[in-house]
């Protein structure tokens, strides 16, 4: 009854998921590992109880003791491992991005459709955050009317130290907002524009930091997303949806209020780990439960593809300074039925209720 998981790629994020599967959540065990750096794989296996080390991802996928695959290797390798998992008929959880280009994502979508059932879940963990879930529930209740607008902000205290680029502000940071608004509104994104405000002097001068992304949903909802990766003060994620009769927004969180030195203060999370630690836990817990039940839910290959397509067009808009429209392929039937995007919420509700 324990799900036996094989992990491909044991860098920082891979190790974090191994810790989560081993020490935090219930119902799973890491039984096999592989990494491009064999020594790193050995060392990671050392701390686990009898986990096998495989030479290649394909070997791991072929291992009869592996029930499901977790892909946390370098982005460009995702496609190969996800396709192999589908070929093997095994459920696979793939960290974002599903693949680096819309075309690569589409190959995965097509392979999954050909296989005839959903096997792939993409690591858009915000859908498992209690705040966003409460927002979606608040909108679904219907009393606020139809959504018209959303305002988002994605602020990091500092950009990563290595060569972080303006493009990565969209492909690595804002991609989370791209996914979450598709999910919140159950709508595709039809166009994107990128505005370039005055730059902060407190970061890399080559970076267009901050920037504003304007997303237009298929039904006309307009979303503005501020991306500011050197905001200095903390990790601050905001989202307010404006609907016909009211709004719903993430609160500023904070477990406590400290009053001192002339101020009532609530702490801002220091980084994304602190902000979304629970979302990562719940994401993997639900994946283990759903997969163990022979089912699928959560962000699908289609969601990975759509996000990649929007990112590509927003990068185009960043360069051109113009509005870019997004053209998606037709959405296959597989992603419209239970087990598809809409099923996420149902699964969530069921889970909640069972508590």
């Amino acid at each position: 009854m324990t799900l036996r998981v094989g992990v491909i790629g044991v860098g920082a994020i891979g190790q974090d998921h191994i810790r989560r599967l081993t020490h935090v959540i219930s119902g799973a065990r890491v039984v096999a590992l592989t990494d491009v750096d064999a020594q790193r794989a050995q060392s990671a296996a050392g701390s686990l109880d009898g986990a096998r080390v495989h030479a290649t991802g394909q070997d791991l996928i072929d291992d009869g003791d592996v029930d499901a695959i977790l892909v946390t290797s370098w982005g460009p390798t995702h496609e190969e491992y996800v396709l192999a998992s589908i070929a093997a008929g095994k459920p696979v959880f793939c960290e974002k991005p599903l693949a680096p280009t819309p075309d690569a994502c589409l190959r995965i979508v097509k392979a999954e459709v050909a296989r005839g059932r959903r096997l792939v879940q993409v690591g858009f963990m915000r859908r498992y955050d209690a705040g966003y879930r409460a927002m979606k529930k608040g909108l679904a209740r219907g009393t606020l009317g139809a959504p018209l607008l959303a305002h988002c902000a994605h602020r990091n205290p500092t950009a990563p130290p290595y060569g972080f680029t303006s493009e990565m502000m969209i492909s690595d940071s804002a991609v989370h907002e791209i996914d979450i608004v598709r999910w919140l509104f159950d709508q595709e994104i039809a166009a994107g524009t990128v505005l370039k405000p005055r730059r902060t002097t407190l970061g890399d001068p080559n970076l267009q930091d901050p920037l504003i992304m304007i997303l237009e949903m298929a039904d006309g909802v307009v979303v503005d997303v501020e991306v500011f990766v050197n905001c200095g003060y903390g990790y601050d994620i905001r989202c307010e949806v404006v609907a016909e009769s009211g709004t719903v927004a993430l609160s500023d969180g904070g477990e406590i209020v400290i009053t001192s030195n002339g101020l009532h203060s609530r702490p801002v999370p220091a980084d994304w780990r602190e902000r979304f630690v629970r979302a990562y836990d719940v994401e993997l817990q639900e994946w283990v439960e759903v997969v163990s039940a022979g089912d699928a839910s959560g962000p699908s290959s289609w969601d990975g593809y759509a996000a990649a397509a929007v990112v590509e067009r927003c990068l185009e808009a960043l360069q051109s300074g113009q509005r870019s429209t997004v053209q998606l392929e037709d959405r296959p039937e597989l992603y419209r039925t239970p087990g598809g995007t809409n099923a996420v919420e149902q699964s969530t509700e069921g889970h909640r209720a069972s508590r």
Copy 2:
């Protein structure tokens, strides 16, 4: 020592200012009135202690007992009365708009410059709101670094019942944000764009409600302004400035928290009167003080002109769907010295300190 004020136009806003001068603030008295509707002028005078009724605005301005003029007549008549007040060398407070077109405003600016001293104050009362003033002070302190972005929302519960148009969402509603960001950042606006989200079904279907205005300041700060005049739930004005090391925002106000029925709740103001009642009082009190001291401060003719020019370009942008740049005349010396825009804050601080 009491400032003797003559009021031109005694409709709703004129009567409200008469009430304020008579019953709320100190140091002024309404001594003369005129209105296009002579009977309405008589009736308004009836409740005042010995106020004279004049046949025309010019007569009122010429009245030797009138020290200063308050223009609250129909917008298209403002120019005539303000120019006449300047010609008479008398201080004049003119409700917004200063005049309906940038050209008309510019004629006032030129007349005032020719006269050689500031006599005109325009009724942009938000500069006297405690929240905006605290924001400006917070930015001036310098610890947050340079401003980069601002997010604003201007929400009314319902649009006025008469023929309110999408154009008026800019010229009547968002004009307040146009003025306030010029004042907050001490910068002109260089360009404007208007986005058209999905419309609410709960208002006039001919109205582009909500809309989003994107303003670009001369130094690159980008401001997004949501204007939503049928938001349904209350009168809600938001403003957050994002600077290099932190942000400053209007709080949600509310004097009390009510906890009941599963909710902690803070009231939203019902309308603009409730939200800005104090700003109107302080605006007029400071005008009376400054004018009585033979000085001038607050929003100037130049500010009235700049706002009109930005409104005109944003209306162009609304129609074209394109970005419109704003070209202003050169700013005369008169509006750069104390008594000009910058002096507002000084005057405020002095006022505060004297308390």
Copy 3:
């Protein structure tokens, strides 16, 4: 139509009220002054337009040009001037305390009853604070049910530098809470107890700082009041009423939110002036209006007497460590009718509506 006010006592608080009557509110003029320090009186008169200086309070009260009296002299002298004002049939506003002992207050009550109309208003300005008024309105609406409990805190950043005593924490600080809960609940206080927590090491070691006062209303509502006069961080007044179906509380105010250095922060007022500046203005404005109309409202002699009686019993409780019951005289009819305590709210509402 302008109320001609004579001021007895032109120390700090007297001068502040003179400034308010002269420069802030409408409908009044200071025409006469007196002070135990004749030079101080002369100097205060110097800045006013033709105000007369009287040798004694009695002379000022007798002055035919004085319509109403403001008593802001040293507490022990209040009784004499208030009694003389009543004898002269002139409205008198007396800063708290009405008189230093319950007996002295009672003599005023009896004189006023003998005169047959309300002439005295006591300076309990919190009843004019927008927050407390919204709380009272929230309770009056009835949807929260009957009040059962209240939690209050009265925190000053530092105790006054001169010989401030533990007794003054009750008679000077907590007396405001004593009045406000009587007003909020329209109930007398039946008993008091004082608890003595661990003392702060950051103030005068002789001071029982903080202390907790437990007040029991006649109908059983229990109120705990924390008094902490060296809290260090700011001036922080809290009040939450717990009723049968919900609670209503003062919000933490604050016009703005500053986000920086890992914190979302709202400013705490620096001192009582900042916190209650508007309450003082509204208090005096309403007094001028009501008195000019030949009427009376606001905190009455009876309220001054009841507060003094409760203070006396709480001081007893502070010393004994025991619960002290409060025995009040019978409340005269004069204080039960419009123009009495209940009328405050009506007057407020009327005032609001007229805006």
Copy 4:
């Protein structure tokens, strides 16, 4: 490496812990069950993978495959099972109360001391709540100075439907505050008093609802605790500690803000399950980790004893209307060393860091 847990008592709370051990947390498995109702035990075992059903608690404790015991049976039976677990040298987690009387708790303390190591953890789950933990950390940082006071409120929407008594408001509800302030301040409680405000008419008229408990810590800190079990509006737990230079308080939580119908609103939890679901999860996860490492932490037998002693004295105070002092036995060395109360926080920190 998986901790094999035996559960004594499979009523609602027992089944909830079984679900938690099986489906939520990592590193444990329920291998044995027993219940006074044999059929209920069988049925609970049915949903588990190979869990044995024992006829008695003693049999379960003696089972060689059971590494650790979870006692969730009826309160009066706790002592027997905990003592038997200690005798068997097996770690035991016992739901509160540890035992119904201070004397019974003391027998457990003595047995554990005789055994020479900590084996018992008591189910005071609030110590694992993120809010209280952040408060304790905020106080430990030292910048707020020494704590002087605390204000707590414990509000339930409705009292349990069966014969809930005023005594149970202390022994079942406020016992959580009794434990949490001992832990927050690392201090014993020296005395208690109970105040009886006006009762709500919306609950059982025989209940003293609400009541206020005044706790005095050994070092003089005074804590007031409002207990209101029919507050109607939700489950609302508040705690503010007032220290020498500032305060720290639980925030009002709430993941989202909904703005509609004239209100900005944050949801209040519906019940204790919703409010403390994470605290229960973390509590049991840490117990499994610590016990698997051969260690002990969290609320000890001593904490169970101290809570019972304070409850007993507060019940005395409820009846007498007088202040009751608390006399505890001398605290054995076992509860002063790592693995004792102080170790909780260390364990927490380590746990956090390891994430």
